[in-house]
Each structure stands twice: as C-alpha cells, then as structure tokens.
C-alpha cells in the first residue's frame, strides 16, 4: 500500500485557503489546517467586545472553513514570537504597520517546524501571484520560499502553474496539470471555483484579517511606541488599541473612552491596572487613563474630556469620579468641553 501523503494548510478563514485545500483534497492528499494567532487577528475580538456587533456572525472563520472542508484545525498562539516580526521586519511595513512579507515568511517557517514535528510532507497556502502588493508578487513569493526554509515544500495550488515545479510535483505526489494558474487581483476566478465546489458562504475580508492593515489601529500603535520610546508591547497593550476612542491631550497621558456598553464592560477588566474615570452625575462611559496625571490641572482637563462623552455634555456642571490606581476616589465638578474645544490633534 502506498504511503498516504499529508499536507498542512495555512488557514486564514478566507476563501483562497479554502479553495487551495479543496483542490488538494481532490488529489487525494490528507490535509490538516493550521492557524496562527498573532494577537492582531481581527477574528472574534471586536465582535465579542462591541455590543453593536453582537448581531454579526460570531463564528471563527478558520474553524468554520475547517469544518466545511472536513479537516482538523490546529490554532497556534504565536503572540510572543510574533513581536520580533512586527518590531523588526526585515522587509519593512506595507501601507500601514503591516509587515506582510515578514509575516508570511514567519508563518511558513512555523509551518515547516510543524510538519517536521508531525511528520507531514508539505505545506500549502492559498496565495495567488499578483493578488497582494507586498507579499503576493512573483518575486516576494520566492523570498518567502527561501527565507522560510520551505524550499520546494511550499505549494500554492491556486497559482502553481505560474510558478516553478515544487518537490511534491516533481515526486509525483500531486499532479501539476490538475492545479490552477490564477494570477492578479481579480477575484472572479476564485468566485467561479467556489461556485464549482458548491461553496456559497465564505468570508472575504476587505483589508485582510489583520488589524495591522488598518490605518486607525496603526496610528494608535505608532503613538504607543513613540510615547514609550521603544517598540516593545504586551498583549494587553495591543488589545486596548482595539477598543474605545483614544484621546491624547498631553504626551504624558492618554484617555481611552468606551464607545458603548460592550466596550465599557470589556474595559472594566482593566480597572485594576489603570487610573479610571466615570461620570457620577449622569450616564457616561468608563474612561481609562494610560500614563500619568502630574498635577490638578491634568486631572481637571481629563475630567472635562470625560464629561464631554457623557449624557451631561450640554450641562453647566458635571460630577466626574476619578479613581487613581491604589488611591482614594475623588469627585470633581467640571464644565464639559464642547466639541469645538476639543482639538482634532488630541484624537488618535
């Protein structure tokens, strides 16, 4: 009996990796999925936090794709290891703080480690030549092959006919003629193939599945690094960049203002790590303070900002409670800032 050939697929939860797996299943390959959690994945978190998103589909798309394909999925926490990819990307960042080429190389390298540990034969991805400006060009796709150490063990079934033959093709484990020759940014070939396979429900995230491709998120990350004076970060730091309005009236502190009930509830879990404010005379958001309030003027200014975002924003006076970390709670009666009094530059 011939040996069952096994491949691991990088599963993002999008359509391309779903199609790539399906195409390889047609060739009799046993496939399992692998999904890396970097901390910046859009999956799950924002849906879980924001109440306004609670009617949206809460499924984890990677798990859902695996279930549709009938394959196992291994979700791997790479939060710590990923820091070096983001902080020191050899190939730089994309339009925002997205280190796409280094990220793809990192993930393929991790997949190589996984196939060695688990005695699988090769790796597949849903990449398409020319699909993305940074990590899916013919030249950069070759960089991933070399720098990940995958060499001929990295197969891209959706565009394999546009690339040099890989080891599984040379060995006859898979038939090159049965793979595809997609290229470019058009999604039409993928949509047509999805129809052919009977896939009617699939995720197509517009800006990718990573917060680092988001301009607003990236701006807040850069601000965090500038204020700290270094690029290190903790998991909680990058989580908090996903929630609330971030307002920096001064280099030595910023306020994170909950935008709705779901965010306020999520931020409550951070009250034991930060000073915080809330409006006691009116309904209003929870506000975390990151940094240091150096004097009474800082506290009053912060309290006026907090009052701006509560139901008392048009009142003459609002009572704000300030709870310093480990200190006595204080009440401050302030006049809320008007919209015009809040400089645009304060909003991150």
């Amino acid at each position: 009996m011939s040996k069952q050939i096994k491949a691991v697929a990088l599963i993002s939860g999008g359509l391309d990796s779903m199609l790539a797996v399906r195409a390889m299943q047609d060739q009799g390959i046993h496939i399992e999925g692998i999904n890396f959690f970097t901390g910046f994945c859009v999956e799950g978190h924002t849906h879980a936090i924001r109440k306004q998103d609670q009617n949206k589909q809460k499924r984890n798309n990677a798990l859902w794709v695996a279930e549709q394909l009938g394959i196992k999925l291994h979700i791997i926490d790479v939060i710590e290891e990923y820091k070096d990819v983001l902080i020191n990307p050899k190939h730089g960042y994309g339009a925002n703080m997205n280190p796409c080429l280094d990220c793809k190389t990192f993930m393929v390298r991790k997949a190589m480690e996984w196939i060695k540990e688990n005695e699988f034969d090769f790796i597949i991805t849903g990449e398409v030549v020319g699909q993305r400006p940074m990590s899916q060009r013919k030249d950069t796709m070759q960089i991933v092959v070399k720098e990940s150490g995958a060499g001929g063990l990295l197969v891209r079934p959706l565009c394999a006919q546009n690339l040099a033959p890989t080891l599984p093709e040379q060995e006859g484990w898979i038939d090159r003629e049965k793979m595809l020759g997609f290229n470019g940014r058009s999604r039409k070939p993928q949509i047509a193939l999805a129809e052919e396979y009977g896939f009617t429900d699939f995720a197509q995230p517009a800006g990718g599945c990573c917060f680092l491709t988001d301009e607003s998120y990236s701006r807040k990350l850069v601000d965090l690094w500038q204020v700290q004076g270094h690029k290190e970060y903790e998991f909680d730091d990058i989580m908090l960049l996903k929630v609330g309005r971030h307002i920096r009236p001064s280099p030595h502190y910023k306020l994170i203002v909950g935008r709705e009930e779901g965010e306020n509830r999520f931020m409550e879990g951070y009250r034991n790590r930060f000073d915080y404010f809330f409006t006691s005379s009116h309904a209003g958001p929870l506000v975390l303070m990151d940094g240091e309030l150096k004097n009474p003027a800082d506290i009053e200014l912060a309290a006026r900002i907090v009052a701006r975002f509560g139901q008392g924003r048009d009142a003459e006076q609002v009572t704000i409670t300030y709870v310093p970390l480990g200190g006595e709670r204080q009440e401050h009666i302030v006049k809320p800032f008007t919209a015009e009094e809040m400089p645009k530059e304060w909003y991150l």
């Binding site: 959690f37 994945c41 999956e43 799950g44 978190h45 849906h47 879980a48 936090i49 609670q54 809460k58 499924r59 984890n60 798990l63 859902w64 695996a66 279930e67 009938g70 394959i71 196992k72 999925l73 291994h74 979700i75 791997i76 926490d77 989580m239 879990g269």
Partner: protein, 78 residues
C-alpha cells in the same frame, strides 16, 4: 471507561484564546475525560463546539452560571 472531571478557567480571555487553551489542555487528557471550560466571552458558544466537531470531541452542555459560561465537553479518541 472511567471519566475524570477537569476544569479549565479562561474567564476574561477573548476568542480565540479560550479555544487555544482548550485545545492545548485537551492534549493532556484521555479519551472519555470530561473538561469543564469556564469562560466569559460569548464567542465560545460557537467556537468551542466548532472546534470539538472538527477534532472529534463532543459538547455535553453549555450553560451560564453567575455570568460565567460553562462549556462541558467530552474528550474523544483523537
């Protein structure tokens, strides 16, 4: 087969971390063992069952006790 009850506390963690920790904990358990996962992210009510279905485990119950979501699952033969 004897069933051993295990508990995993992932309260305060957001998906997919509860799934990852469930997955990693399950690797240490034997087929037939019962694992009770304590969570606060409502996303677990879809993600842990999905993870169980594709990995051969089964969800016995999902209930909320004092604002804590408790997903109880039985470890399958992987």
């Amino acid at each position: 087969m004897s069933e051993t009850l295990h508990t995993l506390d992932v309260r305060g963690q957001l998906c997919p971390i509860p799934v990852i920790r469930t997955q990693n904990h399950a690797k240490k358990l034997a087929a037939g063992d019962i694992l009770e996962v304590l969570c606060t992210d409502p996303g677990v009510t879809s993600d842990i069952p999905a993870w169980c279905r594709i990995n051969g485990h089964s969800v016995i119950s999902t209930e909320t006790r004092d604002n804590v979501i408790v997903v109880t699952l039985k470890i399958g033969n992987e």
